[in-house]
């Protein structure tokens, strides 16, 4: 990574340039996300909807796109950021909340909560999802780092896949017992932002804000961890504490996102790689950029999902898998076998 | 017993986009022990792999008894020409006898049954390598030296007249290295097997070879009896190393002593 990073200019000036560019792209995507959809609407209807009017079907469609766009922005930022942190903590280029099974863990926790403990409020969803995500993250990491060589990319990915498949089976097992929620089974399998409302947004927001703050505070610690545990300890870092804190931030972010949107994979994988290529490996820059680029990617994927399958729409989780899987393969091919 | 002739003619070979051997001619002396030496990446393993059909040549050909080995049916070839690769894989939990009996593979078609002849070949191989008492032990549990003897036994069970070995002594300590090489000499003397191997250690190579081949830059730089090949001038050219070559007081073969920059006794 360092050699690629060295190829790009990383002076503050170029960072400011990239920051401006990413922000401009984000604004354009937001506009696009409100304007473009499975239903074509006129500009006047868009303006009217933005002004708060929902008189025509077109205006109502646009009005529904506003919270959806915000959700995509927030979810993308959360996933991009949590991916960057997970890759930092594990020093593993394949780490991602989806691949590590963390999203599926959150999904399972919600399914269990709904079916067996009768949870109904969005708030309870989020707490349960965060618990599930946290448990799964620790579980997969422990499995993946047992034995020789610690947590190699191959072992972590396999542990994540195994856990994902098991949890997906369990989700089906849990949901099938309840005829009333079984119809919604696909929403436990593929994530999307289609159902976003301002009410749901406001519930998830505090969790995401907490997650963002904790995550940003760990940037410097992640920089030390990147040098290896021993060297980090030599530099005076409390390694276990640093890792736990960063993990907490990442789990808050992806758990809360999964609670509202369902499992969305690969955003957390692609975004940090892209950002490292563009902005270098300093986490103080990498983390905020990962959040911004993640927001842009998910918004973009959501727009694409509305366009590809007209008049239906594609859940954003499907779109990200189609963008993300080839990227995953590309990363795998770049690695030396020895490191896998 | 007929001696098979193995030779390479105008051989060029390599991997992907790099050519390693270029226009190489090589005649293996039948019934003798040939040892190939050379610096890292000089093409000695590539030569061995091409001679044993693992690697198709770009140009030229490898002839066994006048017939190109790359146009011979694999099983037919494997009855005459055996190879012990550098890092063979022992399936988990397999026993010594079972692994050694895999050497009988080329002697069986799709439906032919295992017979007394096969048991005898396996028993002979176990005896020759002195591992009869290990026969029912799992290969995983053996030491490095024992394991190498098992692999050689597998190649012996194949009962080929020509045997190629790619660094059969790597990862072995010195006593096991000597043990393996002594075993190969026995085999050569008792059965007349033609042996070609790549060795890292120059002194062991000179000690055990009838015919020593020094490679440099994808070509054969010198070949012949060890005393003619292992000279100070050749070591300088092949390895880029200043050295003294003296006669080994026990075998009379040449041994090479590297001259470094330090720790030199004052000599007149």
């Amino acid at each position: 990574m360092a050699t690629d990073a060295a190829l790009v200019l990383r002076s503050s000036r170029s960072r400011v340039f990239w920051l401006a560019l990413v922000l401009a792209v984000l604004v354009a995507l937001c506009a696009g996300s409100v304007a473009i959809g499975t239903r074509s609407v006129s500009w006047s209807e868009i303006w009217a909807a933005l002004a708060g009017r929902v008189d025509t079907v077109g205006q109502a469609a646009v009005a529904a796109r506003i919270p959806r766009t915000l959700m995509a922005l927030l979810a993308g930022a959360a996933l991009g950021l949590s991916g960057a942190i997970m890759q930092g903590i594990t020093r593993n280029p394949l780490a991602d909340p989806g691949i590590l099974g963390v999203n599926m863990g959150a999904s399972l926790a919600i399914a269990v909560g709904v079916a067996w403990f009768g949870i109904t409020t969005a708030n309870a969803y989020i707490w349960v999802a965060i618990l599930g995500a946290g448990f799964t993250a620790v579980f997969v990491y422990v499995i993946g780092s047992l034995g020789r060589g610690g947590a190699t990319p191959l072992k972590l990915a396999l542990a994540g896949v195994a856990t994902s498949v098991a949890f997906a089976s369990l989700v089906i097992a849990v949901v099938l017992t309840r005829g009333d929620i079984a119809g919604g089974i696909r929403q436990w399998q593929v994530g999307g932002v289609g159902g976003a409302t301002f009410a749901r947004l406001s519930v998830v927001l505090p969790f995401l804000v907490a997650g963002f703050l904790i995550s940003m505070a760990t940037a410097r610690k992640l920089n030390s961890l990147a040098l290896g545990d021993e060297l980090a300890a030599g530099l005076g870092e409390r390694v276990a504490l640093a890792r736990a804190m960063a993990a907490l931030g990442a789990i808050l972010l992806c758990g809360a996102t999964t609670a509202i949107c369902g499992p969305i994979g690969f955003v957390g994988l692609i975004v940090p790689h892209l950002c490292r290529l563009l902005f270098g490996v300093d986490h103080r820059w990498l983390l905020p950029f990962s959040a911004l680029v993640g927001a842009a990617l998910l918004t973009c994927a959501d727009i694409a999902g509305r366009l590809i399958a007209r008049p239906n729409e594609l859940d954003v989780g499907i779109v990200t898998a189609f963008i993300g899987a080839p990227f995953f393969i590309w990363i795998v091919r770049r690695q030396k076998v020895r490191e896998l | 017993m007929t001696k098979h002739s193995l030779s390479a003619h105008q051989l060029s070979a390599g991997y992907a986009d790099t050519i390693i051997l270029e226009g190489l001619d090589f005649q293996v002396p039948p019934g003798q022990i040939t040892v190939i030496v050379g610096a890292n990446a000089c093409g000695k393993s590539t030569l061995l792999r091409t001679m044993s059909r693992l690697l198709p040549p770009r140009h030229g050909q490898v002839l066994l008894d006048g017939k190109s080995i790359h146009r011979t049916a694999p099983r037919q070839l494997a009855q005459v020409l055996g190879l012990l690769p550098q890092s063979p894989i022992a399936p988990e939990g397999i026993t010594v006898a079972d692994l050694v009996s895999r050497g009988r593979h080329p002697h069986h078609g799709m439906i032919s049954r295992w017979g007394r002849k096969d048991d005898e070949a396996v028993a002979q191989a176990l005896e020759a390598t002195n591992i009869v008492e290990l026969a029912e032990r799992p290969v995983d549990e053996l030491s490095g030296g024992q394991r190498q003897r098992v692999w050689i036994a597998m190649a012996l069970a194949q009962q080929t007249q020509v045997l190629l070995l790619d660094e059969p002594t790597t990862f072995l300590d010195i006593s096991h290295q000597v043990e393996v090489l002594d075993l190969l000499i026995d085999l050569n003397q008792q059965r007349g097997t033609t042996i070609v191997m790549v060795l890292h250690d120059l002194n062991l190579a000179a000690r055990y070879a009838d015919h020593l081949v020094a490679m440099a830059g994808g070509r054969i730089f010198a070949s012949g009896p060890p005393a003619d090949v292992l000279t100070e001038a050749n070591v300088r050219h092949v390895f880029g190393l200043e050295s003294r070559v003296i006669a080994d007081p026990t075998s009379g073969r040449p041994i090479m002593l590297p001259l470094g920059r330090h720790r030199m006794a004052k000599t007149g």
Partner: protein, 342 residues
Amino acid sequence: MSMASVDIVAAGRIRRVRRRARVVLALLALLVTGFALTLMLGQSFTPPGDVIRVLMGHDVPGATFTVGQLRLPRAVLAVLAGLSFGLGGAAFQIMLRNPLASPDIIGISSGASAAAVFAIVVLRLDGAAVSIFAVAAGLGVALTIYGLSWRNGVAGARLILVGIGVSAMLDSFISYVLVRAPAWDLQEAMRWLTGSVNGARLGQSLPILISLLIFGGLLMSRSRDLQALRLGDDSAAALGTHVTRTRVMVIIAAVGLIAVATAVTGPIAFVAFLSAPIAARIFGSEGSLLIPAALVGAVLVLAGDYVGQFLLPSRYPVGVVTGALGAPYLIFLIVRAHRSGA
């Protein structure tokens, strides 16, 4: 050479052959017993006499429907699919020398499943056409994965990871097709998500039977060369095996087995992955694992389906049971493989 050592070798070999025969016979007995039991047991008990009369073609009130129409097609499908998955999975694992390189982990099953679901839901095909579609797609995916993991030779680790990526993509394609399907049918969705033998008809088993004969036969004819491949490509070549040709034949045969079965039952989770390691555990690693693995696969699907139908608080498709069973085993394997440093 002394007579004593020949005798040692011969005695060891005979012991191995006998042990192998014993294990195969025991597995066969287990499978037959399981098959018989699933015909007798269910919501209600059908006495063996009635089962036999139904099988002979007599009309037995009640039993003709439950046994002849419900239990028999289901059990036959479970056995044939299990044999196919076990055989195909073992072939991949042996060929790539890695228990993790099974078709359900490296995306072959997902490929066949995606093709089948596309053929059925979107193209509205059925029967043999679906099987052919699935086999073609399975081969395409196998080729793609192999090509993508090629970099101066194929390394096992890279192949597995590339396969994980490819199967993530195919799985989301399956979700896409299911979501777009005009009528959301839970049973149908379950089949393509985890695999199931629900609603089996006897006719569905025919393509699997034919594929077992053709592809299974092809695989068995390569069994000895497959054994040689376990010693590494170089050793196998030195022993006179045509390495590339063997690989190609084995891939075609194994993909064919997996794809045809998947086109009917969906990708029954982890059966292909589990069968050979379980067989190796019972059997030791000597000799060919193909037949024992096939038998283990059949027992797994049969037993998993029975458990899913009758022994759990709610009715589950077989894939849910094998998925929940297989994942802990996969984790165990990861932990153990890396502890021993393999």
